[in-house]
Amino acid sequence: MPSNAFLGVFAKSPIKPIEEHIKIVHQASETLIPFFNHAFKGEWTEADALRVQIRNLEREADTLKREVRLHLPRGLFMPVERTDLLELITHQDKIANKAKDIAGRVIGRDLEIPESIQADFLAYLTRCVDATKQASEAINEFDELLETGFRGREVALVEKMLVELDAIEEDTDEMQIRIRKGLRNIESELNPIDVMFLYKIIEWVGELADIAERVGSRLELMLAR
């Protein structure tokens, strides 16, 4: 006997896959920390192994994203807007893409980061990864939000998490200014093309936090409805 048609009423919920997706995405951005630790020391084989790991995570995230899109048919009755969910996962996915781009670009040029800015750079990167972690934690409250029907105490909790996310992102902005200044002071001693790439990498790392914040604001929009 085929599956009962009444059960078709319950569509597959995209909530779990979305939570799963941001976990993977966050893992990808997190892997950048050991990646750069190797890059600082010029250990390119180890760094490349981590780049492959990041790329694999990015692919995994891509598959999951596609699945969510496919399993989100029209005519679903959801507590949140279908378009909001699709946009949310699109933004989430950009974090993994960015992480992959950063790792790829650094490996592609065997880009050395000058020692004088390494400490600042690591702190800056860690803070940006903090932002993706915070976004991941906020998204992981999704099923709890659902449980409470997007109302009351749980909403307040998530909003607090999002305020924290904003604060982290602001931090990274300031750190970015400092690290650019550090790079400017030594740029005359470096290969000009490397410097161009370094500026680019710094910018991209900052974008990790920017996108994480954007994911947060998507969630915020859903809460507001």
């Binding site: 006997m1 599956s3 009962n4 048609a5 009444f6 009423v9 679903l76 507590p79 709890e144 105490r153």
Partner: protein, 422 residues
């Protein structure tokens, strides 16, 4: 008249067989709907669901199943035109059962969601149309059934909404959801016990010869409710709470508490389903037996033969045991983010609606109430995803079931007529 006199026993045996066939189909298909949410939310395993369904379907059919029977038997068609031709009534009821059972099995095999209640009503209308013409059909009652397509889901949806929102207010949206769950879930259990026992007492017990007054009835129901709540509280206290499950809201643990409640609502649902849907199979059967036993006289009021209710209950249980497992199994996977608390709100509401409707004699469909209840929880933004497209299809199937049941019954009726040479 000769037909009934000479073939009386044979007719009863045929009617009993097709009645059993119909009940079998109901058990195999409908019960999956009734138990679906419990298995889907992982509150019950498939095996547990089947055992619960067996016990409570039978209990529901036997203890509270009598009331709807009379509605189907006398409410839809007017017996007066059949006074002179009782053999047509007998053949017609048999063909109605056969038609509805066939349609039910066919539709289940094709995966269409049909209402068993409406198949039998459609079939009865069908044979009445060709046997004596449209004047035998009480169109007002039919209109009432059409109205129930809207009213029933609305009622159960509303109840589900209220239950879900109350759980929100009392448990989930509080400082200490876990403590509140422990405090209030026994109350919900008591509520479920109250509804179930009240209907059993008021409507069902007289079939087995127990008559209680209003005050005693309510007192007993409240007593049972308190007892159920108390047992539930003990079960909850034995629960292992994992303090590390989730840091902030302890929702995982809260859901564990609700899972216990879910076991109870699953019982409720099976009971309600048995009480309402067994009538579909046995209503026409009861009519046949009555006419044959009174030698062709169509009695205005007649007692149900003692073996009819158990036969219907047994048919449902056998159908469930043989085919239900497969259907229920498909539920475990693929269902949405359905937690015990949401499943509970939907099931308790659906069960209450069916039980209440069963008490008032309205032949409603379990599928309808469940769809309504699930929608109600969805409206309260409690279920992650509902497939509106499928809901639309289900509503369409409610509508087409009546004409299809009628057409099938007409065909079978003509075949039977020529077979018996009437």
């Amino acid at each position: 008249m000769d037909i009934i006199a000479s073939y009386g026993t044979l007719l009863i045996i045929i009617a009993a067989a097709v009645g059993f066939f119909m009940a079998y189909g109901i058990g195999a298909n409908d019960v999956a709907n009734a138990m679906g949410t419990s298995v889907g939310s992982k509150a019950l395993t498939i095996k547990q669901a089947i055992i619960i369904a067996m016990i409570f379907e039978f209990a529901g059919a036997y203890l509270a199943g009598g009331e709807v029977t009379s509605t189907i038997r006398k409410g839809i068609i007017d017996a007066t035109p059949f006074m002179d031709i009782p053999e047509l009534m007998v053949l017609g009821m048999i063909s109605a059962l056969f038609a509805a059972g066939t349609w039910l099995l066919l539709a289940s095999m094709l995966g269409w969601p049909v209402s068993t209640t409406h198949s039998i009503i459609g079939a009865i209308i069908g044979f009445a149309l060709v046997a004596v013409g449209s004047e035998a059909i009480q169109w007002g009652k039919v209109a009432g059934i059409v109205g129930s397509w809207i009213v029933t889901p609305a009622i159960s949806g509303f109840i589900a909404y209220l239950i879900f929102m109350s759980a929100q207010k009392l448990i989930f949206d509080t400082d200490k959801p876990l403590e509140n769950a422990k405090r209030f879930v026994p109350v919900y259990m008591g509520l479920a016990g109250f509804v179930m026992s009240l209907v059993t007492i008021k409507k069902g017990l007289k079939h087995i010869g127990v008559n209680l007054g209003t005050v005693e009835g309510y007192a007993l129901a409240i007593g049972i409710a308190v007892l159920v709540g108390f047992i539930g509280k003990m079960a909850i206290n034995r629960l292992k709470i994992d303090p590390n499950a989730d840091k902030q809201m302890h929702f995982n643990n809260v859901e564990k508490v609700f899972a216990i409640l879910m076991v109870l609502t699953a019982c409720c649902m099976a009971f309600a389903h048995g009480s309402n849907d067994v009538a579909n199979a046995i209503g026409p059967l009861a009519a046949v037996v009555n006419i044959v036993e009174h030698n062709g006289e169509i009695a205005k009021k007649a007692a149900l033969a003692w073996w009819i209710l158990p036969l219907g209950g047994l048919g449902i249980v056998v159908g469930l045991a043989v085919l239900g497992k497969k259907v229920i199994k498909t539920i475990g996977e693929g269902i949405t983010h359905l937690t015990p608390s949401r499943g509970f709100a939907a099931e308790l509401a659906a069960a209450s609606t069916v039980v209440i409707a069963s008490g008032t004699g309205l032949p409603i469909s379990t599928t309808q109430t469940l769809v309504g209840a699930v929608l109600g929880v969805g409206m309260a933004r409690g279920i992650a995803a509902l497939n509106m497209g499928v809901i639309r299809n289900i509503v369409v199937s409610w509508v087409i079931t009546l004409p299809v049941g009628a057409a099938l019954a007409i065909v079978i009726f003509y075949i039977l007529r020529s077979a018996f040479g009437v």
